[in-house]
Symmetry: C2
Subunit: 336 residues, 2 copies
């Protein structure tokens, strides 16, 4: 087992004390310029790497950030991670990745087993059905900061980063209206989730603004998958009075709905408009291409991580809630 080079090795080689080496390496305190250069040169020559276990032990910090989220296998989350990683990388922080599979039990288990002592902070997007948030609060109480993104619990006082669900939804529905659709249905997400409510509210308010009626039966709640979207659309088609457009809570469900419509021989766009939310790359691949609200996923990752780093840096950093706007993207699925 090749032992790693330590500051002791450097000290010995240079015939100076470890404390001087330590000081020189960290570029702090007053160390003789010449000594510092010698140390740096030797460190470089020996390919010295600080042992984070040791520094962590002393400083009570590890340069590790945990990221806890439901999935990585979709466009949104994988892009958020890429954004997080981008700033973490710049600042020399490690990302420790935990995947909950959207299971509250797994989420709880992960948090419980978390070696908080080994972490400088957490970035979390909560599971769909998780309404308990006490475990998060406990972690924060031990002094480890958390920043939530996308799926945020409103009971916890800390920084949060999300897209502007309300306005995005509003804009999507208004686009539908401006395109000439009048009977607009909503394929929604799981009812308990905060952003499901926000998008629904945006939907309702857009209808209200344009004096369009709300048909309660045209609002269908279910999960986030394509299959859910397909089933929801079928549900809508069963009704006597059919809508002429659908606002889906996300692109996956919108695409599921498109599949259902195609099966039923309904022409997307001309006969029934569809708009999604996310701007998943598949929305340009499906036919017709899918109109949607682009979420700033990468930016959300970056901002979350930046905020977390601020919390870590300042003990009493005042929590911020960042809401990033989405962008309406018009494609074929809303062309009559």
């Amino acid at each position: 087992m090749g032992r790693f080079v330590t500051i002791k090795d450097i000290a010995k080689k240079l015939n100076i004390s470890v404390s001087t080496v330590s000081r020189a390496l960290r570029d702090t305190y007053d160390v003789n310029q010449e000594t510092r250069e010698k140390v740096l040169a030797m460190a470089n020559e020996l390919n010295y790497r600080p042992n984070f276990n040791a520094t962590g032990l002393v400083n009570r910090s590890s340069h590790n950030l945990a990221v806890i989220l439901p999935f990585v296998t979709n466009y949104y989350f994988s892009t958020v991670i890429t954004g997080i990683q981008e700033v973490a990388y710049q600042q020399d922080y490690n990302i420790i990745l935990h995947i909950t599979n959207d299971s509250p039990e797994r989420e709880l288990a992960i948090i419980k087993n978390l070696a908080a002592s080994n972490l400088d902070g957490l970035l979390i997007s909560v599971s769909s059905d998780s309404d308990a948030t006490a475990h998060f609060q406990k972690v924060m109480d031990t002094g480890v900061p958390i920043v939530f993104f996308d799926r945020v619990p409103d009971t916890i006082h800390t920084s949060k980063v999300m897209q502007d669900d309300y306005n995005g939804a509003f804009e999507a529905v208004e686009h539908l209206i401006n395109s000439g659709y009048r009977n607009i249905a909503h394929i929604a997400g799981p009812e308990g989730l905060d952003f499901t409510q926000k998008r629904k509210k945006g939907f309702l308010d857009a209808l209200a603004k344009h004096n369009l009626p709300v048909n309660e039966r045209w609002i269908v709640h279910s999960g986030f998958s394509q299959e859910n979207g397909e089933a929801d659309a079928l549900e809508l088609l069963k009704q006597k009075k059919r809508p002429d457009a659908i606002f889906a809570v996300n692109d996956r469900k919108a695409i599921g709905a498109m599949i259902a419509l195609k099966k039923k021989g309904i022409r997307i766009g001309t006969q029934m408009g569809i708009i999604g939310f996310t701007n998943d790359p598949v929305s340009t691949i499906v036919s017709p291409t899918l109109s949607t609200i682009a979420e700033p996923a990468f930016e959300i990752g970056k901002r979350s991580c930046e905020l977390l780093l601020k919390h870590i840096g300042k003990r009493n950093f005042i929590p911020e809630e960042v809401i990033l706007p989405g962008t309406l993207i018009k494609r074929e699925s809303t062309r009559r």
Copy 2:
């Protein structure tokens, strides 16, 4: 800053020594059954969590695994990660995620800055253009094991996990031939990559087996993106003698090719067959649906991680090369 509970705290409360606590906690050596239970109970009560920095310092181990790969924003890699995470989670290992953006420079920088002392092992899928592998060897020389997956360098002697690129490609092309296509082109990946070569070889051998001619101009190399696929297909269409089917190195490029064909008014399937590789979920969403070879991405993640854990467990574990078979999935794009 809430200090964490340490074994010292437990010892003090129970009026015993830290070493007894340590032994009881680790369920090793002979500790009095009664003492052990008392310790466990107290640990539980105080919500004790081991400090990994401390254990890591002593044991020279951290229970951290680094995963280094080009992207997380695609189906294949995000699924591999999920597989890795699955076994890591079971065994109480952390995943430290590094994303290279497929840049050899970034890959090198990550490896160089790696605090190897903080890692028990690495899981790596190399960057496209990375032909230098000395940096990997250096890490291994320090005693930290590496397992490569998917994109593996053949110069390094260690465990590797990959799909059966050769046979998958062979099967894909044979399926094309069996479906009645005779003039088969190949949209390939970057030339330097090992699996690009393997898939190409499978392509060539399938043609040879069926006595079909190889047209060098029908083999186009470029990157992995959808745009690359589109451009490659356009390239093929320019030629006097056009192929009647395309085997694409992956689904992304296949879909790019489909887009190109559609633009040119060529009917996919009847006029030109297309088959991809991966079984990205989009392959069922595109129209027509895309035939492909399903890669066992999740399984690849699991097996890689299992192998790495074996390397970590046994100093002199003999490297294994695992090759997992793909599965032919017939869909509309190869129906004449």
